[in-house]
Symmetry: C3
Subunit: 394 residues, 3 copies
């Protein structure tokens, strides 16, 4: 039960069917995914609205690693491992904060925001300070979204940038405000969370609020004519509508789709949530839905951005971080309330979380066998195929 | 410490002595037991008094498996794995309940109580529904006791039925009422729980209430003449008294023994607990003690049945379920109170639970060596021999 | 990630640098350390002030083993495994207590304090009682300090005795009183706790209270002349001042160093804590600092002894026990208060605990690499060298 032949599992994989049990439960498969997927690809870490001033930082926990993402004095954003080069102590002890310099709490070695070791007291004369800077992590930004990569050599970032930036730039994330960040821990394999967020076969049964806001989400309404009409209107306003699909060598999905007529935002009552963000002039930009495999989801309406960062903890546990952004000019209490801003995704996300955990419970049974995806689950097949491809390549 | 040579362990086993440490602590031995014992033999799952109406169900959790035991429309009782054949979601989310049909909470596939897939919405025309019924589990009933078997091919059920039914039929479990079910988690290997319930060497020191109710339980009183006399009286009333022993190829133990003169029931004060069950006319049926390896214990007096279901969680953890049954005509508050009904086994069971956990703590030490069972622990030897035999066969 | 080649790790070890990650995180390395270090060497278990009367006992938990340390009728102190020789039950259920005999709670086998099986009821005539005494553990005492050894053959105890006794004897531990014992669980490898307590490079930044009490602890004050002067005064009073270093084949470190002028004890305010202990006549004995690898630390001032017992639980978890001893004539409330007695090490220990846990967090990262110890961390190098040597020998 504990030994798994990954090669055979990969060989037996049959596209169109869900994966065999060990893909979801085995620690060995998870380790392989960590190496072949999470330590190879660009991972969404956060956004620049979290780092307004020089010295603002946050940590991104990736299993036993913690990456410090920090705004430098030169406005640039840096990423370092949170491990002192002296005796290995964690340096930043809080998950986010503000520093002028990084001072290790153990023996007070001092590092600059860019990672340079500035001072190591009482070390001998022949000590080469320049060999003991903080270890860097690859980092790239596009339109205020921050991606990091744990690989020795990072893959090309351009395909991600080219796909995401046309959709994100109108939001002006650098002029946005982080209204709220929440973390959830799910007792489910990370791929089940990803699969859940790649199909709406479950929406009609599980998401009354979402289906009320999004025309066609229940898969029972025809939306084609309406969508074509909206796309013309969006294009006229300079909003991109080009569908981005994950294909060979890419990891990004992008789409703009309409809210139900009468809905101004992702909200329970259909009414707007805040003032339009960035360059938006009205509440009629539809929904921008973005995904970047393996860990990034973003659903943006005219007046707010919701992002989801999916981070595996182990084969059976997944951390999910929701972040809500509004325009930096939006005043809480006046232009928006936190309660209305977060209600839509807190409710929908809780429904999804329960579905994922129940899915995982059933898959742990010996009775589980790969089942056939429905035709409307084609994006799930795309994602699972991608995972298998990455494992085969690794 | 982590690698265990099961073959050598089995080879070294010396009947009459307790098992070597790895039998109680090793995950590898536990996995072997799971395959050779728990996934091979008939397991007590519950009783029909838990399933009065069509659609009543309960779950039996067996490690990562959950088995749905459900009353069908045709009065029959069915057992299925609680895993959807689409994407594997758990279907029943509560441990017991009432359904008209099973509807998977994820994508609303619909299954009949007998496991037939009735509807899978939006699947393509060539989808073979009949291939995606719920996966069945072997099930057998005798006198209202429900047994399941996880094996591909189940062993003969007749020896169990033949042994248990003469003892159980007078209780008319189908006309009984479930008064109470309680679950306990013990930090002990499951075999220590089983061993504990196969000897009374410990009773004198540990169980004052039990020894007060059961003459001879302290192993200091002679009961032979008294027992012979009672057996004649029971036989005259048509109550079986034939001792059933576990022998080659069987798994059942059965006995009827007397309460202490003056005691009408398993109670703290010796007074009756409820009205006589089923066909019983008085409070003088003694104690029916039944065991079926590996997981079933039942102690029944004239007016109530207590069952114990022993379910391993892992090598170091065991779930124990107590169930109290009374006659369905017995009214709570009038004919019995829950407090008096459960007191005897809650007190005695808590004493046993502590003994098992202490036993396990000591066995985890490197200092532990197999020790000699006392002659009065012969039924423990029988049980341990049986476990070793099953492991050797597997 | 889970498989570790210990031989290669040991081969790559570079004295002067911290250990590679698996030494701190791998279960396999921890198992090796347990065998080569903790099951081989003398371990500090406690002191005789914990065992005033015959029958007083305490347990020392070492992973799955529990060792009973008990005062016998003959004043001697015995050590046995807490596992019954019948069916393996734990015998003593409380971590400390008082017994006249050991009676197993399961089947009432009776053992004398010296471990002799006195009575095993209902065993057959040919049962050899003398084969079923409690299994003994090696035990040695020096000046009231109790050491045990789990090895089959224990190493020579004389080097420990010779090093410790000159420092400890003036305290007369057999006439001391246990004022307080506290246990802490740290999420850190045990060696990080040991390393932390072998250097004061961190003291200036982390321990304001300690640096106030101990001149030179901040490594910024010159103390040589002052120390030489104090040593002369101590020698004149018959107090040993001979530095004991850990060298080839020994495990003990010992030193006497001065408190800051004006300080009478390890206290927050510098004032004395209690009456002088044992043979001490005043509050001017400085600090006696003793270490015995792998698990014993003691810091004693004139009026109280503080000991620290470091016990690994697993690679990632360490139990730390603090014990405070005062003279047995000291009355609580009059001669000392518990709050003042414990404050100094509770504060300093909490600071150290946090440093150790942060150190461990950073070391768990893939970014961690062995770093260079500072010259003032020479005692850490001594300890780490010793661990590597023991592993190589094992």
């Amino acid at each position: 039960m504990n030994t798994v032949n990954l090669e055979q599992l990969l060989h037996r994989y049959k596209s169109g069917h869900s994966l065999e049990q060990p893909f979801y439960t085995s620690a060995a498969v998870f380790d392989a995914e960590w190496e072949c997927i999470f330590r190879k690809h660009w991972l969404y870490a956060g956004n620049v609205a979290q780092l307004k001033k020089a010295g603002d930082y946050f940590l991104y926990h990736l299993r036993d690693d913690a990456v410090i993402v920090v705004r430098g004095n030169d406005e640039r954003v840096y990423a370092h491992y949170n491990t002192c080069t002296h005796r290995g102590s964690a340096i930043c002890l809080e998950d986010s904060g503000q520093v002028s310099k990084f001072i290790c709490p153990y023996h007070q070695w001092v590092f600059d925001k860019d990672g340079t070791l500035l001072n190591a007291r009482m070390m001998p004369d022949d000590f080469c300070k320049e060999h003991y800077n903080l270890r860097p992590v690859h980092i790239k930004l596009t339109e205020g979204l921050i991606f990091i990569c744990l690989a020795t050599e990072a893959p090309d970032f351009l395909p991600i940038e080219d796909s995401l930036s046309p959709y994100v730039k109108t939001y002006q994330v650098d002029k946005a405000k982080v209204a709220c960040i929440k973390n959830y821990t799910l007792a489910a394999n990370w791929k089940l969370v990803a699969e859940n967020f790649r199909e709406c076969y479950h929406c009609g049964g599980a998401h009354p609020e979402y289906c009320k806001a999004v025309i066609g989400a229940n898969l029972r309404e025809s939306t084609e004519d309406f969508t074509v009409e909206k796309q013309k209107a969006w294009a006229a306003k300079g909003l991109t509508t080009a569908l981005v699909e994950v294909t060979a060598g890419t990891t990004t999905y992008g789409v703009r789709y309409p809210l139900r007529p009468g809905f101004e935002s992702y909200s329970i009552d259909g009414k707007k949530i805040s003032i339009p963000m960035g360059l938006h002039q009205d509440h009629d930009a539809g929904v921008v839905g973005l995904v970047n495999y393996p860990n990034f989801w973003m659903d943006a309406v005219s007046d707010y951005i919701w992002t989801m960062k999916v981070t595996p903890v182990d084969a059976c546990t997944t951390n999910v971080e929701f972040c809500w952004l509004v325009d930096e000019k939006a005043e809480e209490g006046k232009d928006y309330t936190l309660e209305r801003l977060t209600a839509f995704w807190e409710i929908t996300g809780a429904q999804d979380g329960a579905l994922c955990e129940n899915n995982f419970k059933g898959i742990r049974s010996n009775a589980y066998r790969p089942g056939p995806y429905a035709p409307v689950e084609d994006q799930v097949i795309n994602f699972v195929d991608w995972c298998v491809k990455e494992l085969r390549a690794g």
